[in-house]
């Protein structure tokens, strides 16, 4: 039993060592990575990019795993003055990939040193690009875009023409990003790094300039507000004027029509009368007589004192009974 015990122990130990060596021959390459085999620290053969189970020499060869995916780089926000001397905070990010694992491994060895290299290169390229462009070039992208105008603000004119107007640009954000990318890509290629994209994530005003920006925004808004008020007053005055005009037009037109109609009526009546009274000499004479009689009735009232001569037609008979009452003289 004792001998057998020793033997068993030895066997177990051997088995463990054998297993260890056996397992040391195999390694899995994950779908997201590539592997560089090093022998005493020196890379051996080409990087293994094919995922799955792979073989190596145990103990003397080592597995170095390197990411194959697109990796992120997020720069620290930096305060940079633009060409037109506005301080802004720029926050960039980039996507990159280890395209040449061997070069990468030799020159940088791990991702941490890669990140700091990226920070150096992209940081300085960003700074250069921002510093040689005006702020508006970094903000805007599409130089042909025409902004929508608020119907309400359509007529608002401002001294500087800034409200509702996009200042013109020459290059735009996209071009600046492309330029940063192009410059950095060349430098990063030496490290086996492939740069997919660089973008300006956040561009914000430095707190020191914000006050000035706010002041400008406030004055712009005030301008619009007074514009609205004055528009309201103007429109109200216009309406009041229209009211005055319409009233005058309506009233005078009506007056004209009334006078016209009345005139016509009077004319017509006169014509009718005249036609009747002048149809022949007798009619005219009769009319005269009738009208005289009518007038007497109207004129001679209760408080009239009448003085008659006995010579008159009416009272002729008072003086002489035989006096022949004269017939009235024929009317003229």
């Amino acid at each position: 039993m004792t001998k057998r015990g020793c033997f068993t122990l030895l066997l177990l130990a051997l088995a463990i060592v054998a297993l260890r060596i056996l397992f040391g021959c195999f390694f899995a390459v994950y779908q997201t990575e590539q592997v560089i085999i090093t022998q005493f620290g020196k890379p051996v053969g080409e990087p293994i990019t094919d995922p799955g189970l792979h073989f190596k020499l145990p103990i003397i060869q080592e597995v170095n795993r390197i990411d194959k995916r697109f990796l992120e780089w997020g720069g620290q926000p930096v305060a940079i003055p633009t060409r037109d001397k506005t301080y802004i905070h720029v926050d960039t990010f980039a996507r990159w990939r280890i395209s040449d694992a061997k070069t990468f491994f030799v020159r940088l060895r791990d991702e941490r040193s890669a990140q700091s290299r990226l920070e150096d290169i992209l940081g300085s390229e960003t700074r250069n690009a921002v510093a040689k462009n005006d702020l508006i070039e970094i903000i805007r992208t599409d130089k042909d875009r025409k902004p929508l105008r608020d119907e309400n603000l359509k007529n608002v004119q401002t001294g500087l023409g800034t409200i509702g107007v996009l200042p013109p640009i020459q290059y735009g954000r996209q071009k600046i990003e492309d330029e940063i990318k192009a410059k950095a890509a060349g430098k990063l290629a030496e490290f086996g790094i492939d740069l997919l994209d660089v973008r300006l994530k956040r561009v914000n005003y430095n707190p020191d300039v914000l006050d000035r920006i706010y002041q400008r925004m406030i004055s712009e808004r005030r301008q619009i507000a007074s514009r609205f008020r004055s528009e309201g007053e103007g429109e109200a005055a216009r309406i009041a004027g229209r009211k005055e005009r319409d009233l005058n037009e309506i009233q005078s037109t009506a007056y004209r029509q009334v006078q016209q109609i009345r005139g016509e009526a009077d004319g017509k009546a006169t014509e009718i009368y005249a036609q009747a009274y002048t149809q022949n000499a007798q009619a005219a004479e009769f009319y005269n007589f009738l009208k005289s009689m009518e007038t007497y009735r109207k004129v001679l009232t209760r408080d009239t004192t009448l003085v008659f001569s006995t010579d008159s037609d009416l009272f002729g008979l008072l003086k002489r009974a035989n006096a022949k009452p004269q017939t009235l003289p024929p009317a003229r």
Partner: protein, 329 residues
């Protein structure tokens, strides 16, 4: 047994603990069996899809349900919620999220933007997305969620940067959503995220707090303008239709007058003509009759009547002095 040789005193080995090989073997086997059972099945939830790797290499994707795999880490499974609509919040966060990429991490910085007319604005938005290619999502990009956040921010700023503050705050919201969505979809494809961006929704969009008051003033001024116009229109509407009615009234009145005048004239003429017809037959006597009739009516109604002889030349001495009209002056 007397002639039995004395018991040989065997050399006693130092007492070693007896190795319970059998026990160890049993325990190991049981542990292996449990481990085997434990690591050889998995379930995929209804809203998800499973991605299976064998020795680290992509093998297949599997549908929801119970599945088996090779144990002890040979097969590895990652379950992704591919059928669930996921969202990212920018500039704000609602508590109770399950997706770790969802809430805004630096909300103040995220929502602060510069517009194309160099004004400042605070923009909050939401991005709805879905994992539509689990293989790409897992294997082509590290941290796809964070990448999507970064590119969403860049895309939104690019869109806002091409718009005026008025477009951003009031009139251009829909336009911004559409443009940002297109931009994000294009970038998500370029970055091989395996993500499909479904929707971009703007939430609160405000001017910075410091200038908010002046923006409100503009709204107020706009109301004032409408108000002034309404009042003026009210005055107009109060006066003009009434004047129109009155004008019509005057015209109708005149028309009535015309009828009256013409009808009266025609009536008078008709009556005159009738009388004339009779008069022509006996002019002298008709005249006398009418004259005397009139005199009779008139004189009976008149005041004092004085009849004098035609030889008397002076009228004055007869008139009573009190009735002298000169005295009344």
């Amino acid at each position: 047994m007397p002639n039995q040789p004395p018991a040989i005193q065997t050399f006693q080995m130092p007492q070693m603990p007896r190795i319970p090989v059998r026990l160890i073997a049993t325990v190991v086997v049981i542990a292996l069996l449990i481990g085997l059972a434990w690591t050889s099945y998995y379930t995929v939830q209804a809203e998800s899809e499973g991605v299976v790797l064998r020795f680290g290499r992509f093998l297949k994707t599997v549908e929801p349900g119970l599945h088996f795999k090779l144990p002890f880490g040979v097969d590895q499974v990652t379950v992704l919620p591919t059928r669930r609509q996921l969202k990212l919040e920018f500039g704000f966060f609602t508590p109770g999220y399950t997706n770790i990429d969802q809430p805004a991490r630096e909300d103040a910085e995220e929502k602060s933007m510069v517009t194309g007319d160099l004004n400042a604005a605070l923009v909050e938005w939401v991005v709805q997305y879905r994992i539509d290619d689990p293989k790409q999502y897992l294997f082509d990009v590290r941290n796809p969620g964070q990448t999507l956040r970064d590119l969403s921010e860049a895309a939104m700023r690019e869109v806002i940067g091409d718009r005026t503050v008025d477009e951003v705050i009031t009139i251009g919201r829909q336009d911004i959503e559409v443009a940002a969505l297109a931009q994000m979809q294009e970038l998500a494809k370029r970055y091989m995220l395996g993500i499909r961006v479904d929707q971009v929704q703007l939430k609160n969009v405000n001017p910075p707090a410091e200038v908010q008051a002046s923006f409100n003033e503009v709204n107020k001024a706009q109301q004032d303008r409408e108000n002034a116009i309404n009042i003026a229109n009210g005055d107009y509407n109060q006066a003009v239709p009434r004047a129109r009615g009155e004008a019509d009234q005057a015209i109708r009145g005149a028309e009535g007058y015309r009828f009256k005048r013409v009808n009266e004239a025609e009536g008078d003429v008709a009556s005159f003509n009738a009388m004339l017809g009779q008069y022509v037959k006996a002019p002298e006597i008709t005249r006398t009759r009418l004259y005397l009739e009139t005199m009779g009516d008139v004189l009976s109604g008149a005041g004092e009547k004085i009849i004098i002889d035609d030889t008397m030349r002076n009228l004055l001495p007869i008139l009573p002095l009190t009735k002298n009209p000169l005295e009344k002056r």
